[in-house]
Symmetry: C2
Subunit: 237 residues, 2 copies
DNA sequence: GAGATCTAAACGTCATACTTTTTCTTGCCG
DNA sequence: CGGCAAGAAAAAGTATGACGTTTAGATCTC
């Protein structure tokens, strides 16, 4: 699943970005723009623009007389959605899923607490609707519908937090939840306890009980962390 | 404080990016590449590359026959370090500081817990050194030195967590701490209680006590949140 | 007036020439 | 023999002109 739209630029960018994040070019490797232009049969204009974007992601560094050098992962803008997508689509998927799940576990509880303080009436209503939707699709092989409500639920929480950086993580959570559904328990119905927790979070937010919203959300994310070893086994273990 | 290196590209990018994030071009505004080329007296080549980078940050969207359109903030890659820097340097600084501090408050305790599990002996030693450095510079108008140790301390925690996304937030924390020192209490010595907390975190990490490391770090970040209203008053209040 | 067609505006792509920086070589001098 | 300086070459950076492609909007037809 790639995000490349039409246009030479996106195609080349996507191919190169995926290759780099997948480790096909180890750090320190040198890429020359003319070579890339030849390889993809595009003009140098296109390649230059691609390199500029890769450079803005700190995936590579371009230096005169030397070429385009691939940087170490420590330099990468690992929060860039496209980098995340590439890593999820490539060999780095397990590690990326671990990182994202931890990130999510750290953020969501805090976001839920903020949401309890800041959510508008409309957002509360939407949240409740999502929770109810989860309940009503939690049995009888309706996983796709359940997933939809689940994703929507977490998106509302993150948005209602009022923090635009938290809100931006909605896609990340969606990706994790989707990955979980597709890789792990496609056959099982969701855990009823988890469904209940979501309903309770919606209630806590509606009542403005920040402390409770945060606590219960933490329970949800603890579950997500527990699933990690099934979804993305620790390579160091 | 801008990050633009030499080269036309960076200059134009920095100027445009700052202008957009500062709200000089409201969402929906249209920018035409030729105009920009004229205004900065550079070739279209340069402008195109700049636009491509801005596009990769989701600050703008380029459509044929219409021009380069500025997107709403909801679309921005607010995690991009350059976007963060621009917002910190522009009119959006208070709001950006709020968001970053909340982000930090959510992440750092979790990172400290992970660090307690994953830190190498070397990292433990470095952490202790930082904490001791903080103690020894915490009195007698040595704020610059204290700040240096403080930043290093938090960087080690984030790196030692083993999560490359957390590690990337080192710059963010550095920015917040620097801003705090320069805007708020330039004249006061640091709070002794805060210094003690850092020492305790170092100890907990060294002993591998994840729960304690997380709890005490949370105390530190609660303090950071409390300072928010002085540093970056809530506009909605 | 609704729909199809035409047009022009703006970005997208290409090719080429030239500039600038930086590395590496070469050769001089001590 | 070694170091330093001058120079050559390599690769990215910049500029320019031409042409392709998409698409909003005007025009034309029925």
């Amino acid at each position: 699943m790639t995000t490349a739209g039409p246009g030479l630029h996106d195609q080349v960018l996507d191919t190169l970005g995926l290759a780099i994040t997948a480790g096909e070019y180890p750090p320190g490797s040198v890429i020359r723009t003319d070579e890339v232009a030849q390889r993809f049969d595009v003009s140098r204009t296109v390649v230059r623009e691609v390199v500029r974007v890769l450079e803005s992601m700190h995936l590579v560094e371009s230096r005169r007389r030397v070429g385009v050098t691939v940087l170490a992962i420590e330099e990468w803008n690992v929060f860039d959605p496209r980098v995340i997508r590439w890593r999820l689509d490539g060999a780095d998927r397990p590690r990326q899923l671990r990182s994202l799940t931890m990130l999510r576990s750290a953020i969501e509880p805090v976001a839920a607490g903020l949401a309890a303080r800041n959510a508008t009436a409309e957002q509360c209503a939407e949240l409740t609707a999502c929770a109810l939707g989860m309940v009503s699709t939690s049995r009888g092989q309706q996983l796709p519908e359940y997933l939809r409500h689940d994703i929507a639920f977490h998106r509302v929480i993150l948005t209602a937090s009022g923090n635009e950086m938290f809100a931006r993580l909605g896609d990340v959570v969606a990706e994790i939840l989707t990955g979980r559904t597709h890789h792990q328990v496609m056959f099982d119905d969701p855990d009823p306890a988890a469904v209940t927790l979501h309903v309770e979070v919606a209630g806590a937010v509606r009542e403005g009980d920040a402390e409770r919203a945060e606590r219960i959300t933490r329970e949800i994310t603890v579950g997500a962390l527990a699933e990690l070893d099934v979804l993305a086994p620790d390579p160091s273990a």
